[in-house]
């Protein structure tokens, strides 16, 4: 049997017997993402459903000064609440999202045909209240416009005289595009699963083996170092891919329970998505395994390797965070950058958008080339004399 296969089989068996590795690589890693994603999506969907339908609850101070206005609001989905004392303080303390205050002079001004004033108290730093505030402001404007038109008509004028311009807002956002942050996080969850799946093997097979003093006896065997490294890398990649596959299956199952269709959002976690995701992730998994092994080879102990590799887990978050904050338009060159290209392609796939063959090939080609460079680098480190010596 080829020595690399001997090493591979031994590493797989040994690590399958390690409860900590199995827990982290094959349970926590793969399930963390789908669970978080399902949770976040559910929260987002219930918010989205709230947007149009939920009645606006607002405390109205001085409702008795404008019974018609209050009645109009009530008919349009506003639930007036009893007045509160010191509304400014209550809004600032976030006890109330907003308060509508109608001054005593409202009735007098209204009857005299002057512009009557109502006050809307809110806190614009409270992002949560922005939507209801906008809706209430819109209703108040509508009431004003409606009555203004009636006053003009009563005087025999066309309402158009007073409104030479009207803006018709046509929001082109979809629930899909409004959940950009969510989609930006999704590839990270998959990449995280793959990185976590391989991490423990990368540490165990190099830093761990040196710390347990078994690397030196291993290297005394008549086997080229690169074959030993190949076996160890293959085991690391196998665990990472297993973790990724489990994660994709979990996403597939979780996807069935997320009521995305209710808000018209498309989420595609089907077999085709899973297959292409596995394919585009393969070069990245290879690259990650090499880098993890490389870093673990430099670390002086298991603990030190663990610290470095935990930091490495944060690296794949960069494109997610970047694309969430700056929603860049995908450029051609981006498909040549490992990590970024996986990110873009997985996002597109899950939104059921098309990925072209050149994009796919660019991602695979550049990914594999980068992984090859990392592998050669790791093999060089593996050849060094100091690698086997512990302490």
């Amino acid at each position: 049997m080829n020595a690399a296969i001997v090493v591979f089989l031994k590493e797989v068996i040994e690590n399958l017997r390690d409860r900590r590795t199995v827990m982290n690589a094959l349970l926590v890693g793969p399930l963390l993402g789908p669970l978080l994603f399902a949770g976040l999506t559910s929260v987002m969907i219930s918010r989205e459903l709230d947007r149009g339908e939920k009645p606006i609850e607002v405390s109205v101070v001085g409702a008795e000064h404008a019974p018609n206005l209050v009645e109009f609001l009530r008919q349009n989905g506003v639930k007036p609440k009893p007045p509160v004392v010191d509304p400014e303080a209550r809004v600032r303390a976030q006890d109330e999202d907003m308060v509508l205050r109608i001054p005593a002079s409202y009735g007098e001004a209204w009857r005299a045909g002057r512009t009557a004033q109502v006050e809307l108290l809110y806190d614009s730093s409270q992002r949560d209240s922005a939507t209801p505030v906008e809706r209430l402001r819109g209703l108040l404007q509508a009431y004003s416009g409606q009555n203004g038109a009636m006053r003009l008509m009563a005087r025999g004028l066309s309402p158009a005289v007073a409104s030479p311009l009207v803006v018709a807002a046509r929001d082109q956002s979809t629930p899909q595009s409004r959940s950009a942050l969510l989609f930006a996080m999704l590839p990270y969850f998959l990449i995280l699963a793959a990185f976590m799946g391989g991490m423990y093997l990368a540490i165990d097979t190099t830093a761990g083996e040196r710390e347990r003093q078994s690397l030196e006896p291993l290297f005394v065997n008549p086997v080229a170092r690169w074959r030993i490294l190949a076996g160890k890398l293959a085991a690391t990649v196998a665990f990472a891919m297993a973790s990724l596959t489990l994660s994709l299956i979990a996403f597939g199952i979780a996807g069935g329970y997320i009521p995305t269709a209710r808000i018209g959002m498309v989420l595609d976690f089907g077999p085709r998505f899973a297959a292409i995701a596995l394919l585009v992730m393969f070069p990245l998994v290879l690259l990650a395994s090499c880098l993890q092994t490389l870093i673990a080879a430099f670390a002086k102990s298991y603990r030190e390797a663990q610290t470095y590799l935990s930091l490495l887990l944060l690296v794949p978050m960069l494109p997610s965070a970047m694309l969430a904050v700056l929603p860049l338009k995908a450029q051609g060159w981006m498909f040549a950058v490992p990590l970024l290209s996986q990110h873009l392609i997985i996002t597109r796939l899950v939104r059921a958008e098309t990925v072209t063959l050149p994009q796919l090939l660019l991602c695979l080609g550049c990914g594999l080339a980068t992984a090859a460079v990392a592998a050669v680098l790791t093999a060089r480190v593996y050849r060094s004399e100091r690698l086997a010596i512990s302490g």
Binding site: A3, V6, I13, R212, Q213, E216, P217, L218, V220, A388
Partner: protein, 244 residues
């Protein structure tokens, strides 16, 4: 047969080995005696091809170690200073792993495992995972995996380190057995009594150099001391780092 010729090795400014030459013959036990830090482990590491000498050469059964390291490794059984086992594998699996890396087929592997497990009296631990093994059980397993390919030459770095009296005696018997089979046995030690009791030929190392070599009688004659331990102390110049 293991031949070391003018070996040199430095780590940065530290000259760990600065001119070590000796021959370890077949059918003999050769002891490498020296205080801690004398360069014994580094010398052995060059012999078993883990390190490349800065200068000098190593030949095993006439094969140059730098030219054909794999052929040399096939002819060597090595118990290094680092003798970690795979904790989540059983003793037998530990041995089998090295047998496969040596390229042995399944039948030979099974047969050799059986023989070594019997010879080292480790039948009771063969099917146990090596986590929690005593020092003696660990050394037995490490020796078994080092010898599974039936090498002509055996190198052991401080083989009795950490062993209790019984295990040490068993180890000495085992080394004698290897010699009587006609193998070349080379081991290092900082324990004078052990070297005196075990070796046919002694190489004394201090400060990275060979300071004396020969049989016990030759060493006694060279130094004019009737006691071998006194002879060791005399050629090294101090008893620091040695153990009686």
């Amino acid at each position: 047969m293991i031949e070391a010729d003018d070996l040199h090795k430095s780590f940065g400014d530290v000259r760990a080995v600065a001119g070590v030459s000796f021959v370890a013959r077949d059918g003999e036990i050769t002891g490498l005696l020296g205080p801690n830090g004398a360069g014994k482990t580094t010398t052995l590491r060059m012999l078993y091809t883990l390190m490349t000498p800065d200068r000098g050469s190593v030949r095993v059964d006439g094969i140059d170690a730098t030219r054909d390291a794999d052929a040399v490794r096939r002819r060597l059984g090595v118990l290094p200073d680092a003798r970690g086992l795979y904790k989540r594998l059983t003793a037998r699996e530990n041995i089998e792993y090295f047998a496969r890396l040596q390229g042995l087929d399944a039948a030979t592997t099974a047969q050799r495992c059986e023989r070594l497990i019997a010879a080292l009296e480790m039948r009771d631990i063969a099917a146990r995972r090596s986590e929690g093994f005593s020092q003696g059980q660990r050394v037995k397993t490490a020796i078994a995996r080092a010898l599974v390919h039936d090498p002509r030459n055996v190198i052991l770095d401080e083989p009795t380190n950490g062993l209790d009296v019984m295990a040490t005696r068993a180890m000495r018997r085992f080394l004698h057995g290897l010699r009587d089979e006609g193998r070349c046995v080379l081991f290092s030690s900082h324990i004078m009594q052990e070297v005196a009791a075990l070796c046919d030929r002694i190489v004394v190392i201090a400060g990275g150099r060979v300071v004396a070599a020969g049989t016990a009688d030759e060493l006694r004659a060279q130094t004019g001391e009737s006691n071998l331990e006194d002879a060791f102390v005399r050629v090294i110049g101090s008893d620091e780092g040695l153990a009686a």
